[in-house]
Amino acid sequence: MNILGISAYYHDAAACLVRDGEIVAAAQEERFTRKKHDSAFPVEAIAYCLAEAGIQAEQLDHIVFYDKPFLKFERLLETYLAFAPRGFRSFATSLPVWLKDKLFQKSMIAKALTALWGDSVDWNKRLLFSEHHFSHAASAFFPSPFTEAAVLTMDGVGEWTTTSLAVGSGNSLSVQKEIHFPHSLGLLYSAFTYYTGFKVNSGEYKVMGLAPYGEPKYAKAILDNIIDVKKDGSFALDMSYFNYCTGLTMTNAKFDALFGGPPRQSESNLGQREMDLAASIQAVTEEVVIKLARGVARDTGQKNLCLAGGVALNCVANGKLLRENIFERIWIQPAAGDAGGALGAALGAYHIMLDQPRKPASGLDSMKGSYLGPQYSQDDITGRLTGRGAVFTIHTDDELIEQTAQALADGKALGWHSGRMEFGPRALGGRSILADPRSPTMQKLLNLKVKYRESFRPFAPSVLREDVAAWFEMGTDSPYMLLVADVAADKRRQMTAEENALFGIEKLNVPRSVIPAVTHVDYSARVQTVHEETNPRYYRLIKRFKEITGCPVLVNTSFNVRGEPIVCTPEDAFRCFMGTELDVLVVGNALLRKTDQSPSMAADYKASYELD
């Protein structure tokens, strides 16, 4: 039984192939087309999934789309009716898009499939549609290690739902409660993302990264005026502060008046006000998430919790939720955003519509470490790199690990392209930039000379699973970098009064632990635990680094520059290597040093991608 899940047309198009309940392949379209958050029909991701499974299109039993266009259209109409005559401009802008394309999504998808695979099969008959939040819930529960769990999904909006509570048991999943549009925690966070001058749908991470620089001075104003949060975590927004139902912006003049000024202009200087706003919305989000989780625990009596939806990518809130000890265990879908909807849609069809049993997860869960994307054989890598004019040497695994660990210990910034590509927004040691976290200058160097991104943004650590409790205040698995924990007290350095008085980025430049490159200004770190069973090669690398340096931690950031999708092919990795100040590149068993490459191949790379 082969089921293809698809998400597309809004943001983060992706495809996933499930065979007899096993996730065989999953990838986001952006990785192939090199367009960040590409929403186009995922032609290349689908082709990859079929190739990975070694099947022809005719062997697909069902193709499942991750949301329901008619239901979304219903929301669109009823929202405009509720606000009419306000919102005519927005209506006039979006309606033609719907009437031309979105309303006819079923035939659009069938046509796209026919264009891909011909008309020997009536694709319409194999096409199914899953509700957006149901897809999220399925992606959170079915791959989790739990036989029973409460499932909480939170995002901007699906069709109507913005937050849902479900209970999963065996191969069943039943939705118990929902909060509907326009009341949305994701859209509230996006409103502040917009207001602090970042891009909606991609800048939310930056707001989260900015929050520790500020004080939650506006949290009370938000709770008193904008959002009414009940004891069980259910909430309602005062829509008079927002413009997203009727206009082309997220917030309006009343919102500006409450927070004392207009939105920050994109790319202009960040001030204390933006930092305080970020801290405030982060604090409110955490409060709502924790209240929701408490309500869920009380209502369902479940001991385990699964999370998905864009808000579940807020790893700071996830870390706080973990420390509240409301649930015994928490599992978060690594592709918690819309890309993961493709996975949930396919799994939901298999287990619920076809009533197929779940197999118990072997190892941590059924996600295979989220290494579900393409990989390349050494012969293929050699051919591709040679074709690009790269100068490289090929080593055995042992030699490669030794040389790479040594280069990292020597302070080199290193590109690491190894095994299958990750599914989801985080690089987890398949397509990563790695560095020594002990270096006090590494954070600045990576931000400004390798990633070309804002200097206030921190980096995340990868740590051997067995060493996590000694280095961070956390004892659980965090294989997908979705939990934030503080650096262990004995690894921290106390700040002097003078250092504490520093402002903004100056604060980040003061080493505050023995691993300063991955320690944020509040001592927090977005931890990835590395497990031998899911990524043995990466595990071995860190282990060897630990033997050399005594430190079982590496800086792990995604292999890309600002605005670029994470690299996919060896050529992408080589291009990024030559366009940045990375010192060393590892692709499979090939090792490249920048000093060996022809300087004529260096290109001005950072201008190649639109800023995110």
């Binding site: 809004y10 943001h11 008619f70 239901l71 979304k72 219903e74 669109l76 109409l77 009823e78 009716l81 927005s90 006039a92 802008t93 979006s94 309606l95 033609p96 898009v97 719907w98 009437l99 031309k100 006819f104 079923k106 035939s107 901007g156 909006v157 859209l187 891009k199 909606v200 749908n201 997203y244 206009g247 082309l248 912006t249 997220m250």
Partner: protein, 49 residues
């Protein structure tokens, strides 16, 4: 035709038949807008709808 019957079935199941006249009017207005505009703008808020 298939599309119309699916839309009809959807509205019946959702008990939203009252939306039908509105949809018809909107299709007419939308059609005019498409003709008037020539191209379709999709603002950033597009992702919501």
């Amino acid at each position: 035709m298939n599309f119309v019957s699916e839309l009809w079935a959807f509205l019946r199941v959702r008990k939203k038949l009252w939306l039908m006249p509105i949809i018809i009017v909107m299709v007419i207005i939308g059609g005019l807008l498409v003709l008037a505009q020539g191209s379709v703008m999709a603002p950033f808020i597009y992702t919501l709808f």
